[in-house]
């Protein structure tokens, strides 16, 4: 299995030949190599480790993969990001106001870039990503990101370390 041999199957797209025409909630209309596809869903194969990679899907069909969507023209990029922000909605934690145990779960009160939230987690809820970022998964399966744990205030850090 030689690398280029299998890589051919990936349908890599040239960002110069891809234009995003419109964005609707979680769908885009794209023009790929001159053909227009409607109702296309962008997906990130590596949402945390390589967020810049995007694969376009129309239903189950894979239209192709962009190695770095940021290389699209500014208008296309703006439209695509609008959709990605919805599909990969993820509040960033700015401050932890308190964590206390309640009925076998833990109640977190935090301030995120999307506003203040209260959520509940089980005891093993923190995932450490390779690059040092943290993910907190709540009991409903929602995920909150801590971009740079070191940058939080000391009280927030204390709460975090308590839960790690």
């Amino acid at each position: 299995m030689h690398a280029d041999n299998i890589l051919r199957e990936l349908k890599m797209l040239d960002p110069r030949h891809v234009r995003v025409l419109e964005a609707r909630l979680d769908e885009v209309d794209v023009e790929i190599e001159g053909r227009v596809y409607c109702g296309v869903r962008p997906r990130r194969p590596f949402p945390y480790s390589y967020p810049e990679i995007v694969i376009f899907y129309r239903d189950e069909e894979e239209l192709g993969m962009l190695r770095d969507y940021r290389k699209l023209d500014p208008r296309s990029r703006e439209l695509l990001e609008r959709v990605l922000r919805i599909i990969y909605f993820m509040p960033r934690v700015k401050k932890i106001l308190g964590v206390r145990s309640a009925k076998g779960k833990y109640e977190w009160r935090v301030v995120t870039d999307k506003g203040p939230v209260t959520f509940y987690t089980w005891s093993r809820c923190i995932r450490l990503l390779r690059d040092g970022r943290l993910l907190i998964r709540d009991a409903d399966g929602r995920v909150y990101m801590v971009e740079d744990p070191e940058k939080l205030d000391s009280k927030s850090r204390l709460y975090l370390s308590m839960m790690m």
């Binding site: 299995m1 030689h2 690398a3 194969p45 949402p47 480790s49 990679i53 993969m65």
Partner: protein, 735 residues
């Protein structure tokens, strides 16, 4: 049958004094005794027979020579195992011969013996080579048995932290010596200030001194706490690191042998025990010795007479605690048994949760659990009652001697022979004296216990990886040719999973390996990857013995997908990248596509960044298999080994994966194990195994024509299919 724990029933290269007497006359010129194994049965009675392996013969002695056979006439030695007993048997030129029976306590000994014999007669290992290996083992074992050597070795291991250890001891001794000062100050206070009512100015001095002592003491205490914690961590980390890296190095066969975590929990316990000893008891030995010397001297200077009285209760207490220990062992052992029962119920309920729940056994478990809790409680009460009985008696001895000291001392104070301050100081010191004495006795015991624990740790540290890479092993660019010659392998020393397998695979050849369950297919491929060392036989890559090839080199170029692949508790991407750590994300996706894993991965919200759970438990069996396959494909290996890669897949996915495999394995040495013979349609040659042997090989049609085991397997699968379609057809008619 008793027998102490150290008696392992086999002696390698015994000295002539250790030989059973009748043997000495039987030895010929130039004959060397390699091993003497002792059975613990004679027929169905307890007794002892000696089975002696020399470089020429095997002899069985029971008072006198019972049986002998030259090694040249033995074709193979083997063991058969029953519930309590095992029998060692030989295949000889004169036919099979059962040699000796023994209980399972001696299984290890005879496993050793059988493997020695087979190495010589089946493996044809040169005797001189075997001897060299054995002598090395004998030496290492002898070193482990001397407990002084063990402690020295332990200290040697901890050498890098010696300065820390010394500092801890010095500070702790200093702290306790400072503690000795206040009673002395009190003596001065009473004798020179309070009773004489003179030197009032000294009052302030003494008060200030007391304050100073207290401050110094607090400072030393803090320092002591800091140093002990540091030492604690340092000791534990050093040992754990050593042990852990050793565990990683061990062969799979060791893991098989120490099943169900007993090895691991034991090692962790032992490390804890030593950590405890090094930080708790080891420095206390020095501290206590120093304290006994200092306080003893002070007591004697204050009043030798009273010192003698004060010493009286010590022997009584020692006696008492000896009795206590003997009785306590019973009570505490029972308590411990009850406790471990509770632990095992809980761990069963958790680890086998699926099983427990699917059989609806939760109520039974709850009941068992509450029963054992009650039992534990009862055992605890017994311990409590027992403790209540023994210690008051010992306490009485101390109280008596204490009263005696006050009485005799009081008389001396009244007669003016002793000052009041001295008497007060004496009684304070007296109590201070008892503590280090008993503590020292305790220390000696924990020294012995630590030696036992250290011994067990060294036993693990000394385990030689059975899969031994020769020191001059080298990197080898594999061409793809593989050859097995006369492979014999057993996991347990009793049952042989491989019995003389010979197989040659040309570079680029694709082999299908089939055979009934348990016929040794998986075992064979594990051996190819050198995860185990065969008892007999050789594996060669491009004509080079696998033992001469660096393990890292081999594992880089040979990929294996195991039958029930286990994944690491990390993301899918990282599991695939086990195949190649520096792979780009595109390559990861490409490999997953080839393994038909991409589409299910993309359906997960976190896609390749999804965590799979411990052992991959959050994925289905078929998904796990495809992730593991992707990892193997990403490696782009010279040799690809697939152990039932499609077993967990549905028929459609299986078909897709098979097609992909056909394409990807072109020109690559490939071994595919499969039960569903249809997945093997593209292989160049089918190899059929049965009961540890290769029974047929050839192309599909050729094997069908031959009408052997392969044909039977093929027909059985066809029959299943035709029955089904027949049923479908008849159902169609019925409608």
């Amino acid at each position: 049958m008793g027998g102490d724990e150290d008696d392992d029933g086999i002696k390698l290269y015994p000295s002539s004094g250790e030989l059973p007497p009748p043997l000495r006359e039987l030895l010929e010129e130039g004959e060397e005794v390699v091993a003497v194994a002792r059975s613990d049965l004679v027929g169905d009675e307890y007794g002892e027979k000696h089975v002696v392996l020399t470089n020429k013969r095997l002899l069985v002695l029971n008072e006198r020579l019972e049986y002998e056979v030259p090694l040249s006439k033995i074709t193979m030695a083997s063991l058969r195992s029953y519930i309590n007993t095992c029998v060692m048997a030989l295949d000889t030129d004169e036919g099979p011969k059962s040699v000796v029976v023994f209980t399972k306590a001696r299984l290890k000994a005879f496993e050793n013996l059988v493997s020695l014999i087979n190495n010589l007669v089946v493996g044809k290992i040169p005797y001189s080579l075997l001897k060299r290996q054995l002598l090395k083992r004998v030496k290492a074992e002898a070193e482990r048995k001397s407990s002084k050597a063990v402690l020295l070795r332990l200290l040697g291991l901890l050498k890098p932290i010696a300065p820390l250890l010394a500092a801890t001891i010095v500070v702790a001794v200093a702290m306790r010596l400072v503690n000795l000062i206040p009673p002395y100050l009190m003596k001065i206070l009473v004798d020179e200030v309070l009773t004489t009512r003179a030197h009032v100015e000294k009052l302030a001095q003494i008060a200030l001194s007391l304050l100073a002592v207290n401050l110094v003491n607090t400072a030393l205490g803090t320092l002591n706490g800091y140093l002990s914690t540091k030492l604690n961590v340092a000791v534990a980390n050093r040992l754990r690191y050593k042990v852990f890296s050793k565990l990683q190095e061990l062969s799979l066969s060791h893991y098989d042998r120490f099943t169900s975590g007993s090895l691991f929990s034991r090692v962790i316990d032992d490390v804890n025990r030593i950590q405890w000893f090094m930080t708790g008891s080891f420095n206390m030995i020095f501290i206590n010795a120093a304290m006994i010397a200092f306080i003893g001297a002070t007591l004697v200077t204050l009043n030798p007479w009273l010192t003698a009285i004060a010493l009286l209760p010590i022997p009584i207490a020692i006696l008492g605690s000896a009795i206590y220990r003997r009785l306590a062992a019973r009570y505490y052992h029972r308590l411990w048994r009850r406790w471990s029962r509770i632990v095992s119920i809980v761990s069963d309920a958790i680890n086998a949760a699926i099983l427990v729940k699917s059989f609806g056994k939760e109520p039974t478990f709850r009941e068992k659990f509450s029963e054992s809790l009650e039992e534990y409680e009862r055992a605890q009460m017994d311990v409590f009652k027992f403790e209540q009985e023994i210690w008051p008696a010992v306490g009485l001895a101390f109280t008596a001697s204490n009263i005696l000291v006050w009485w005799m001392g009081g008389l001396q104070v009244l007669s003016g022979a002793m000052s009041l301050g001295s008497l007060m100081a004496f009684t304070s010191y007296m109590w201070m004296f008892y503590t280090p004495v008993f503590s020292l006795l305790e220390n000696v015991k924990s020294l012995q216990r630590a030696a036992v624990a250290a011994n067990r740790i060294f036993e693990v540290l000394d385990l030689e990886p059975e899969v031994e890479e020769r020191p001059h092993a080298r990197d080898l660019e594999l061409g793809g040719e593989v050859e097995c010659e006369n492979l014999w392998f057993t996991y347990d020393g009793v049952h042989y999973a491989l019995k003389g397998v010979n197989l040659r695979i040309r570079a680029g050849e694709r082999i299908g390996l089939v055979g009934p369950s348990g016929s040794g297919k998986t075992t064979l491929v594990k051996l190819l990857l050198h995860l185990y060392e065969p008892q007999v036989g050789t594996i060669r890559y491009d004509g080079v013995d696998v033992r001469e090839i660096k393990s890292s080199s081999l594992k880089r170029q040979v990929a294996i997908v195991l039958q029930n692949p286990i994944l690491l508790d990390t993301t899918i991407a990282e599991n695939i990248m086990l195949g190649r750590e520096d792979a780009s994300p595109e390559e990861v996706i490409a490999a997953a596509k080839a393994a038909r894993a991409h589409s299910f991965i993309m359906r997960l919200p976190e896609a390749y960044d999804t965590e799979v759970g411990s052992r991959g438990s959050r994925l289905s069996g078929g998904e796990r298999a495809r992730v593991a396959l992707a990892a193997a494909l990403l490696k782009n290996p010279k040799i690809l080994i697939l152990d039932e890669p499609t077993a967990a897949l549905d028929a459609l996915t299986e078909e897709e994966v098979t097609e992909e495999l056909e394409r990807l394995t072109k020109g690559r040495t490939t071994i595919i194990i499969a039960h569903r013979l249809s997945t093997l349609r593209f292989v160049d040659r089918v190899v059929v195994m049965d009961e540890g042997k290769i029974v047929e090989e050839g192309a599909h049609e050729e094997l069908l024509r031959r009408g052997g085991l392969y044909k039977k397997l093929w027909e059985a699968q066809l029959k299943g299919l035709t029955r089904m379609s027949a049923a479908a057809v008849s159902e169609g008619y019925a409608r």
